[in-house]
C-alpha cells in the first residue's frame, strides 16, 4: 500500500509540475486577472443591480477558463507520454496501468483545482470588497460542484484522447460541454417538437451527454438565492462521481488495449 501511495504521489507531483511550469498557464492566469478584476469591481452608474451582470460575466469567464484548463490538461495527459515515448520507461517500472491512470488523473485534477482555487479566491476577494459574503453555503457549494465538473471534464478529455486524436477529442468536448451547459436542460422540450430519428437522437444526447448545467450555481451565487438543498447537492455530487468513474473505467480499458 505504501508503494502504491508513493507511485501515485510521484505521478500527482509530475502533473502539478507540468501545469505550473508551462508558460501558457501563466498567460492564462494573467489574462484572468486582467479580465476578472475589472469585471468584478466595476460599478456601472453606481447601480447595484447592474454589478450583478458583471459578476455573472466574471463567473462565466471562470467557467470558460476552467473548461479550457481541464480539457487542455486531460487531453495532454497521455498523448504527450506517447509522443515523447516516456510511457515506455514509465511502464517498464513496477507500476501498473491502473496506477498510472489513477496517478496521472489525480495529478491532473489536483492541478486543475489549484487553478480553480486561484479563480475563486479572486472572485471571493472582489465580492468581499463590494461588501458581499464570502464563505456562504452557496459559495462553498458552487466551488465544490465546479471542482467536480472539472474532474469530470478531465476524465472525459482523458478517455477522449484514447478514442480520437487529441485535437479532435478536445474540439468535440469543447463544443459538447458548453452546448450542454447552455442548452442541456432545454433538450427534452426540443425533443417534443421534433419527430422520428431526430427525436430519438435528441433524447439519446440528453440521457448520455454530461450535464454540465447541473454543476452551475452562478445565478444563485450572483443573486444571493442561497444554496441548494442537501439532497439535490448530494445527487449532483453523486452524478459527477459516477459519470467520472465510468469515463475513467473506459479510459482504463482503452489504455489496456492500446498498442504500445
Amino acid at each position: 500500500m505504501k508503494g502504491v501511495m508513493r507511485r501515485i504521489g510521484a505521478l500527482v507531483k509530475l502533473s502539478l509540475l507540468e501545469l505550473w511550469r508551462r508558460n501558457d498557464m501563466f498567460a492564462l492566469l494573467v489574462l484572468a486577472l486582467v479580465l476578472l478584476v475589472p469585471l468584478s469591481l466595476a460599478r456601472p452608474f453606481g447601480a447595484s443591480g447592474a454589478t450583478r451582470y458583471f459578476d455573472e460575466a466574471a463567473l462565466l469567464l471562470i467557467w470558460g477558463y476552467s473548461l479550457f484548463i481541464s480539457l487542455g490538461i486531460g487531453g495532454r495527459l497521455f498523448t504527450s507520454e506517447f509522443a515523447n515515448r516516456t510511457v515506455y520507461p514509465l511502464l517498464a517500472k513496477p507500476v501498473s496501468r491502473g496506477e498510472l491512470l489513477a496517478g496521472k488523473y489525480l495529478g491532473a485534477v489536483v492541478a486543475s483545482w489549484s487553478a480553480l482555487v486561484f479563480f475563486y479566491v479572486l472572485w471571493a476577494v472582489s465580492s468581499v470588497l463590494r461588501g458581499g459574503e464570502c464563505l456562504s453555503t452557496c459559495f462553498l457549494q458552487a466551488f465544490v460542484l465546479h471542482a467536480l465538473f472539472m474532474a469530470l471534464a478531465v476524465a472525459a478529455a482523458v478517455a477522449g484522447s484514447f478514442l480520437l486524436s487529441p485535437s479532435a477529442s478536445t474540439t468535440l468536448l469543447a463544443i459538447l460541454f458548453p452546448a450542454m451547459f447552455f442548452f442541456g436542460r432545454r433538450l427534452p422540450d426540443y425533443a417534443e417538437n421534433v419527430s422520428g430519428v431526430l427525436k430519438g437522437l435528441v433524447y439519446a444526447v440528453y440521457w448520455v451527454a454530461p450535464h454540465a448545467e447541473f454543476f452551475d450555481m452562478r445565478q444563485r451565487l450572483v443573486h444571493g438565492w442561497g444554496g441548494v438543498e442537501a439532497g439535490v447537492f448530494l445527487s449532483v455530487v453523486g452524478y459527477g462521481v459516477v459519470y467520472s468513474a465510468v469515463l475513467l473505467l473506459t479510459a482504463r480499458f482503452l489504455l489496456t488495449c492500446k498498442r504500445l
Binding site: 505504501k2 508503494g3 508513493r6 507511485r7 504521489g9 510521484a10 505521478l11 507531483k13 509530475l14 509540475l17 507540468e18 511550469r21 508551462r22 515523447n84 515515448r85 516516456t86 515506455y88 520507461p89 514509465l90 511502464l91 517498464a92 517500472k93 513496477p94 507500476v95 501498473s96 496506477e99 498498442r259 504500445l260
Partner: protein, 243 residues
C-alpha cells in the same frame, strides 16, 4: 536464485498479418552481456517490449526474473532505456530521477543518494539544475541511462543505447556498461553498432524477419575475436540459418 534472468520460450507476436516475432526461444544467464542484433524491422524492439511486459506475446511464454513481466512487481528489479525518449522537458534531471524513484517506491533519502551517485556516473552534475528541454540528444541519452540504473537493477535492458552519442560519450558509456558487467549485472541491449557490441558482449543474438538466426558467443562468431563481427554479421544474415 534463478540461473536465467529472462527466458523466451517459443514466443511469437503478430500485428494483423505481420508476424513481427516468430517462435523465438532465447534466454540470458545471470551476469551475461548479450547484444541483440538485426536489421530494421527484424523484431528486436517487439521482443524487448514483450520482455518488459509492454505487450503480450501472441503465443509462447516470457519469464522475467522468474515471473510474468506483465505483472508490475516483476519489473521492480529491471532497468530499461528506450531507443530515444524526450523526457519531461520541464523537469530537471534531479526531478526526473526523483519522479522515477517515487515510481519505483524508493524513499527520499535513497533517491537522493542514488541520484548524486548516478549524476557523477553519467557526468550530468553541472547540468543538473537545467530543464531537460535544454539538453542535447546525447545528454538525454545519459539521463535515460541514469533513470534505468536508479533502482540498482539486476537486469538492464537497453534499446539502441548508442544512438545519438558522440564518440567521447560513446566511450564513456561503453566503460560504464563494462563497469556494470564487472559488478555482475546482466545486460541485454539491441544495437546496430557492431563494433560496440563486439567490445562489450559475451554473446550475441541475431534476428532476421522475426527469427533468431544466431545465438552464441561473440568470439565464436567473430573467429579471431577482433573486428570481424561486421563481416560475419552480414554472412549470417545472408545465409539466414542458425550458425
Amino acid at each position: 536464485m534463478e540461473d536465467k534472468v529472462f527466458e523466451l520460450d517459443g514466443v511469437s507476436r503478430t500485428f494483423g498479418a505481420l508476424k513481427a516475432v516468430d517462435n523465438l526461444t532465447l534466454s540470458l544467464g545471470r551476469g551475461e552481456v548479450t547484444g541483440f542484433l538485426g536489421t530494421n524491422g527484424a523484431g528486436k524492439t517487439t521482443t524487448i517490449k514483450m520482455l518488459i511486459g509492454l505487450i503480450r506475446p501472441t503465443s509462447g511464454t516470457v519469464r522475467l526474473l522468474g515471473g510474468d513481466p506483465t505483472v508490475a512487481s516483476t519489473r521492480a528489479r529491471i532497468g530499461y532505456m528506450p531507443e530515444m525518449a524526450y523526457y519531461y522537458p520541464y523537469l530537471t534531471v534531479r526531478e526526473l530521477l526523483a519522479f522515477y524513484g517515487g515510481i519505483c517506491g524508493m524513499d527520499k533519502q535513497t533517491i537522493k543518494a542514488r541520484t548524486d551517485e548516478l549524476l557523477e556516473e553519467v557526468e550530468l552534475v553541472e547540468a543538473a539544475k537545467r530543464p531537460l528541454k535544454t539538453y542535447s540528444k546525447g545528454m538525454l541519452q545519459r539521463a535515460g541511462i541514469a533513470q534505468a540504473l536508479l533502482n540498482d537493477p539486476d537486469l538492464l535492458i537497453l534499446d539502441e543505447p548508442f544512438t545519438g552519442l558522440d564518440p567521447l560519450a560513446r566511450i564513456h558509456f561503453r566503460n560504464l556498461l563494462k563497469k556494470l558487467r564487472d559488478k555482475g549485472k546482466s545486460i541485454f541491449f539491441s544495437s546496430h553498432e557492431l563494433g560496440e557490441t563486439e567490445l562489450l558482449c559475451d554473446n550475441v543474438a541475431i534476428m532476421k524477419k522475426g527469427h533468431c538466426i544466431y545465438h552464441g558467443p561473440v568470439d565464436r562468431l567473430a573467429g579471431d575475436g577482433g573486428g570481424n563481427l561486421e563481416r560475419l554479421f552480414l554472412e549470417v544474415l545472408e545465409k539466414g540459418g542458425v550458425a
